[in-house]
């Protein structure tokens, strides 16, 4: 019944058929999510072979018979491992970035995490625009900067903690460290206190 309801919803929203996204064994797939883990075995807690970034490509070897949401791939350097299903896409993500010097920079996806190239605050022109208008607009500039600081503090570590507590898919890994994984901390992310799951 649940699957039927889901089907009805997707139909209502016009979500394309899965076949439209299909890839065949041996095809290349794109990594779509930040901090995508390639794991030794098809379970979220197993050792990390490598952590990939959006835009990198893997070769698809098929779903794990143990758990069809985990898929065997070979990473760009040829090592085999398992990736969670929704970390992968048949389509490449957009990789627009702004460097600190204000210039757009084409960047190697693997160097993404350490580059700092995505760092950006409220645009300087917009900040001046808000300050010049004064009053509530100037106050809005200050508040947006405050919200940006709070957003920046929501790191992949915090997201992974919340995802684990909420029972969501382990898509964004907390770190880029390879090898054995640390067990996620019990303490909730700030403001994201442990949400009890609803009965389904």
């Amino acid at each position: 019944m649940k699957r039927l309801k889901m089907g009805v919803l997707l139909l209502a929203l016009g979500v394309p058929a899965a076949a439209a996204w299909a890839a065949k064994l041996g095809d290349k797939l794109y990594v779509k999510a930040r901090n995508t883990r390639v794991l030794v075995s098809p379970e979220a807690t197993s050792n990390v072979v490598v952590v990939l970034q959006p835009g990198q490509q893997v070769t698809w070897k098929g779903a794990s018979p143990k758990d069809k949401q985990w898929h065997l791939v070979t990473e760009p350097k040829g090592k085999p491992g398992y990736v969670f299903q929704t970390n992968l896409s048949t389509k490449p993500p957009n990789m627009e970035l702004v460097a600190k010097d204000g210039q757009t920079r084409a960047i190697d996806p693997a160097a993404f995490v350490s580059s700092g190239a995505a760092v950006k605050a409220l645009s300087p022109g917009a900040e001046k625009y808000g300050q010049d208008k004064g009053g509530d607009y100037a106050a809005a500039v200050k508040q947006i900067k405050q919200a940006e600081a709070l957003a920046a503090a929501v790191t992949p570590v915090k997201i992974a903690e919340h995802v684990k507590q909420a029972g969501l898919f382990p898509v964004v890994a907390p770190t880029t460290t390879v090898g054995p994984q640390k067990v996620a901390q019990a303490a909730p992310a700030r403001g994201a206190s442990k949400p009890p799951k609803e009965a389904k």
């Binding site: 022109g125 709070l150 919340h162 995802v163 909420a166 969501l168 898509v171 389904k200």
Partner: protein, 324 residues
Amino acid sequence: MRSHLKVAAAVGLGLGLTSCASLTKGLKAAKLGGDADRLVAVSENTQKCDKLGAEPAIQEEYALGSALAIQWVQRGGGLMLATATDQQLTTYVNTVGRNLAMQSPRPTLQWTFGVLNDTRNFNGLSAPGGYVFVTRKLLQGVDNEGQLAGVLAHEIAHIVLKHALHQYASVKVSSCKGAVVGNALVSAAAGRLLSASDRDGKLDLDSDTGLLADLTEKTVELAGKGHRKEEELEADRLAVELMLGAGYDPEAYRQLIAKTPDGGGFFANHPKRDERTKQISKVVLAQKAGADTFAELSTDSLQTPALPASFAAVKATGVAKDAK
């Protein structure tokens, strides 16, 4: 005489690009001089204006998006950040939102989520560059994290699909053409638009606050009319994909849509529920991939997490109390 020129230019514009280009070429070749030469110049400049319809560079998107974000925050009564509880709530909304955004087709934008103090409008808003806002009234109406994720995913989708940037591009082109047909550089900003149309159509808004202000305020005016229905449906489709990718049950989002009256707030320009119902019988969905094919989405193990304790403050009807 000038009015004749304006009429001729307007007629030329009305003929469309191909015929306009042909007309211009013919007039130029005829070397008639006088008004005909001015008409040729107007026509050529009008065609150049179309370059401004090109997709803007990321710096231009960030500048416009930041300025629009300032407008949305000002109009929404500011952001809920005054107390520690408010800040916890903002952190929670960013946790849910950034998890979705980091899996979106634009994972490298600097995504920022905020809660507007607005207690009258049930609304979600977005601005290019990765700014997403929800009103306090909307948060008061969500029953679980799945519903919140659905609304955030819908706004993320508008940014990913660059819907506001399409409105902005049309503002740039029409402003440029307006200046050309008026046969005068009606403002310094219009002059700089014309100048950009001589190049690649890209604008450095960070070094030209006057032009940024002019284009932002015109885009706000257009954005106030909402996105097209097709764009809203497109955003809904991507929202459901984002929810499935993260492990949320999109049924929660459907329930939120179902309990909201047609034509109000967040749903003011959205397709009516009846329209969606009609689509159900028209589309055939095949979700299961074969053993040797890869499918990006799964409907297994989906969740509808409950809201955290920090939500109690927003559910209260009065001003949020500081939990310190």
